[in-house]
Symmetry: C3
């Protein structure tokens, strides 16, 4: 059950090393603490290997990459691989600039990621660009909907198989897939897109989930997606007149803080394909 | 009407490239989303030209400048000029350090800004320092008040004329001026100064407004100043016992999120000089 | 009385230069404003000396250090010493990586800090590592408790004597000590550990307190610890059903904003040893 994955985060207090952007980093840290995990941030090349070594897992988010932090990403990623730590890639803006696309593709080529999480456009960019995933059919639409769901599920399974990673595509409908099975998740609210960083927060949260559930990676990744979406629903229900996106941001993290296994199991809306 | 400027932001979803400081960047992103715009942050020199190219406008804020981001500011600024994108300069701390003053002045000399927004002290520093504005009479007081309003209005008109940019000076009384007309705005609350980044947020917001209202730049800039000040008033009215500056910060962004054209038109307090 | 220290912050509006991490920097700025102080952030080596010169004090926090900001820390620290400004070191993560430990130790060796604030593990790392503190007996437990309180008090007094700085060790029980006297403080709530950056916020706040109370450094540092812990208690009392760590963060800063001298004097829980 997904709730067990949540409980394991609370029991194990996974320490997560985040190399992430300076826009949403505070919310990432607070959502990790809310879930029962513990965050450390470090992007300096001379610092990252030591920090990754004391952590349980690594989350790499390229949202505000720079030359120094890119170097840090490769060093930390390779060290995490060496230590067999679970690690996640969030290729923010892949496809939007040459540097972002090339960095994400090169990271995929040189580092083995446990999970890759992004929107459909970012994930397609990776599927098309990476040498290790040549031959993936990325001819899917730019938003996952009921109409193109079959094609999208086939795409993520194919990319998961060729990359060897769990692939999480988030949007109105979320897909979390390995080569064989795909969770199709319908939690969340459209207003979450009016807050900066709900995707970055999910990447941090997902890393805590996979660190705390090493034998159950696919389910753990899916559980974190359901938890984040459900927190968006609970947070929205707690909104009062006059509240807007800034208060909503607090309400979502608060909902992660208060969520227990039973709430997650009851509220998760998914099917397996 | 100012409300039309607000509506145009909601209709056009302007994508704004922000090179800004790491102190207030999350609030800048959330206020842009609250207004109906969309934020992207990037300061790495190798990344900024691509990012600016996919955006509608650029906001440069020197609040925590460093050697790398300064290089990014010039590259992005010149690219935005090439593409005829509206762009804004927020010269945070100009006058407080040599690096900030020189960077702001050099940016003004090498990049054509659509709007320059700062407090009176920062704007005076630019007016005195920039080669393109030699001869501006900056002998005005360090705070705009009813007593020195005529001199301040003349100063901003003069600086607007010589710089070719709309000039926005914010404080207890706000002035938004081109060479001919000056909006004198009396929205806002003094408690807004007890929150970090209301100025930075306004710069982000103003950029969205000018991108969405390209034929009406002066009015758009003034509309964003009124909107931010009015949000400060509405947010203050929503404060409860025990609330302080951190909750006030949320309330202001929430008020931007919920503001419609009618509310802005009714609440805006300005005169034209 | 501790309340006088609080009043002096509100009266003097100390301007504090922060070289701090990008995770919690926004909260540090807002808590400084809440207390009556005023924050400036700058870490660029070419900028920091000018910025420190216009401030009343300096807070150095190594939470997300990088090569450039490290250079900035040394330049700013030496300039602050030259100008006889109070300055604080927050050695975030000392002991967790070689770069952090070496940077913190080298800062202690080359810069005279007025106060050093960290958790017991970080402070022990400094006591063992620094050439100026050779001979400090750091054989104390990794958490200060009623059981090991005597040993911990002796350790901080010894380290304060050898380093010449006020030492503040924060945790379940907080210790603030010079060579002679040690405040043992029992304010605060364990849930504060579920928010990122309450330690960083305290470092910013403490710097404002020592700048505004130059003749009373030990008491000022202790007052800021009591204020932060008390704000945690007040904030917790204001929590509603459904609230979590994100709202708690706002509530704590709000409590600092609303705190007066009388509240602090009544709520502070400390003894002198």
């Amino acid at each position: 059950m997904l709730g067990d994955c949540l409980d394991n985060v609370r029991k194990n207090t996974p320490l997560v090393h985040n190399i992430t952007n300076y826009v949403t980093v505070n919310d990432v840290a607070n959502v990790l603490l809310a879930s029962g995990g513990s965050p450390i941030m470090s992007d300096e090349p001379e610092d990252v290997e030591d920090i990754t070594s004391i952590c349980g897992g690594l989350s790499i988010n390229i949202g505000t990459l720079n030359k120094s932090s890119i170097e840090g990403m490769f060093l930390a990623g390779k060290k995490a691989n060496e230590l067999n730590h679970p690690l996640l890639l969030d290729p923010v803006g892949a496809g939007a600039s040459k540097l972002r696309t090339e960095t994400a593709v090169k990271l995929m080529d040189e580092v083995n990621f446990t999970v890759i999480r992004g929107n459909i456009s970012e994930i397609k960019t990776l599927a098309l660009g990476s040498g290790t995933t040549k031959g993936v059919d990325a001819d899917v639409a730019d938003a996952v909907s009921e109409d193109n769901l079959d094609a999208a599920v086939n795409f993520v399974k194919d990319f998961a198989k060729k990359s060897g990673a769990v692939i999480a595509v988030t949007g109105a409908i979320d897909l979390v897939s390995d080569a064989d099975k795909c969770y199709v998740i319908r939690n969340g609210r459209p207003e979450m897109g009016k807050i900066t960083g709900t995707g970055c927060q999910l990447s941090g949260l997902m890393t805590a989930y996979i660190v705390a559930n090493p034998d159950n990676l696919l389910e753990a990744a899916a559980a974190s997606v359901c938890a984040m979406g459900l927190a968006g629903e609970i947070g929205w229900n707690n909104m009062l007149p006059g509240d807007g996106n800034s208060t909503y941001r607090n309400r979502i993290i608060d909902a992660i803080y208060n969520m227990d296994a039973e709430t997650l199991d009851k509220g998760a809306k998914y099917e397996l394909r």
